[in-house]
């Protein structure tokens, strides 16, 4: 089903729904925040909406820090129903990839259930974007409850899920639109897909021999500039490595889950001190092998939605395509 929202009605509508729901929007080039009138829709934000589902600090257990005390499970902090507007289709697709792994995770699931995700199609792909090459069709809006397409006078909204339908059922600002509008959406989709094909490299990667890739000699050279910082992993809408920590202040304790990065030495260090990925090269390799081989073999898709954040923000100038090229032409 399709609706239409005039451009000037958008802010008003966001304020209206803010009265009933918690509403988050992109507020600046850096990322999302609660809607308070500020809206940044020009480009995708540095931090994706991943932080709403794998938050910076997820409490999973509370305890009293004294011998013999039993921990009390929280399982999940109560999350209020919330709406996130302005999520880019590639980022939403990223959530569906994370879901393949976190499908059973009660925290992630609860957050998914309680969230209505409203997507916004980019007017044009950004300079570093390559979602289509990774097989993402932004018009399909995977992972979203509704998708906004910006047109001359306003937004054409495609509903994608029962949650989306329920939300829009009684929103006065939106008018139902007929076939013509729907066709314009389909036309835009068709034009986009014709111009933006999937990368042939993915098929080659599927066929490539895992051990040969692992042992290839190109890793050393490619990894030399890499700082093994966590920028690419933290900004990536599909990276989901995490750490679990016990935090204690005085007698109060909390077990928390937080984002971590396979780029870090600490991430793979065992309690014994042994580290199977001690060298920086091994950690660099892991990031790409995970995305473009292990995950691809396991789920049939790469763990990358082509948002280009890693390429855009890597301080060392590492470009993912140079790595894919090396991997797929071995």
């Amino acid at each position: 089903m399709f609706y239409f929202l005039p451009r000037e009605a958008l802010k008003n509508w966001l304020s209206e729904i803010s009265k009933v729901h918690e509403v988050f929007v992109p507020v600046s080039p850096s990322g999302f925040g609660p809607y308070e009138g500020k809206l940044y829709l020009e480009k995708k934000t540095k931090l994706s909406a991943k932080e709403f589902f794998l938050p910076w600090r997820e409490v999973i257990l509370k305890f009293e820090a004294r011998p013999g005390a039993l921990p009390s499970p929280v399982f999940f902090e109560p999350v209020k129903e919330r709406i996130i507007f302005g999520v880019r289709p590639c980022d939403a697709k990223g959530l569906t990839l994370i879901e393949k792994v976190f499908g059973e995770d009660p925290f992630f699931q609860k957050r998914r259930e309680k969230t209505i995700l409203l997507g916004l199609l980019c007017k044009e792909p950004g300079r570093e974007c390559f979602g289509w090459a990774m097989g993402v069709n932004p018009f399909a809006g995977e992972g979203l409850d509704a998708l906004f397409l910006e047109q001359a006078e306003g937004y054409l909204v495609k509903l994608l899920s029962p949650k989306g339908e329920k939300l829009f059922k009684d929103q006065e600002a939106f008018e139902k639109v007929g076939e013509e509008a729907q066709n314009s959406f389909k036309k835009a989709e068709k034009e986009f897909l014709e111009k933006h094909p999937k990368a042939p490299a993915l098929e080659k990667l599927k066929e490539a021999d895992l051990l040969k890739l692992y042992e290839a000699d190109f890793w050393e050279g490619l990894a030399l500039p890499c700082l093994n910082c966590g920028i690419c992993t933290f900004l990536c809408p599909t990276c989901y490595c995490f750490d679990v920590q016990d935090e204690v202040v005085g007698l109060e304790g909390e077990r928390v889950r937080l984002p971590e990065a396979c780029m870090f030495e600490l991430y793979s260090r065992h309690a014994s001190g042994h580290n199977p990925r001690r060298s920086p090269v091994a950690r660099f390799r892991n990031r790409f092998m995970h995305k473009f081989k292990y995950f691809l073999d396991e789920y049939g898709e790469p763990l990358c939605v082509g948002c280009g954040r890693c390429n855009e923000e890597c301080p060392a100038g590492i470009n993912l395509w140079e790595v894919i090229r090396a991997m797929s032409t071995l």
């Binding site: 600090r57 409490v59 935090e247 202040v249 005085g250 109060e252 304790g253 909390e254």
Partner: protein, 142 residues
């Protein structure tokens, strides 16, 4: 009950700790606000230890060692002096109340100086009030 500051005092084993001991033995009066951590030398105290004390809820931190020339390890305190100077400048720069982190020289025979140092520091911190700026609260601000 009125609020009493809690101050963590890192005292070097050879001078200041003995100085504190002397203050006790001599029955000098000073406020019961300090918790002593005995360290081998003032140069053993690192900024992470000082900041960790504040983070864990201390209202003030005192580091005290032997007078220059008297360090058991000859020059430990002279190295420490430079480091503390730099640390103090840094803390002030980011807006941490400078009174909360203090350094002193107290020899083994200066029980009276030790008592004065603690009294003075306690007064200063009472004026400031509890450390809320640099104290970690579980699930606090992110």
């Amino acid at each position: 009950m009125s609020w009493e500051p809690r101050i963590i005092a890192f005292l070097c084993n050879w001078c200041s700790y003995a100085g504190a001991d002397l203050a006790g033995v001599s029955r000098l009066r000073y406020p019961p606000t300090i918790r002593i951590v005995r360290v081998p030398c003032s140069s053993r105290v690192s900024p992470a230890m000082i900041l960790d004390a504040l983070k864990s809820g201390a209202d003030g931190v005192l580091v005290s060692g032997c007078h220059p020339g008297d360090c058991h390890y000859l020059t430990g305190n002279l190295f420490a002096r430079r480091r503390f100077f730099m640390l103090k400048k840094l803390l002030e720069f980011v807006g941490l109340e400078p009174e909360r982190v203090q350094f002193a020289w107290v020899s083994a025979s200066e029980g009276d100086v030790f008592a004065k140092v603690v009294s003075e520091l306690t007064e200063k911190i009472k004026l400031l009030g509890p450390n809320t700026r640099f104290r970690k609260i579980l699930g606090g601000k992110i």
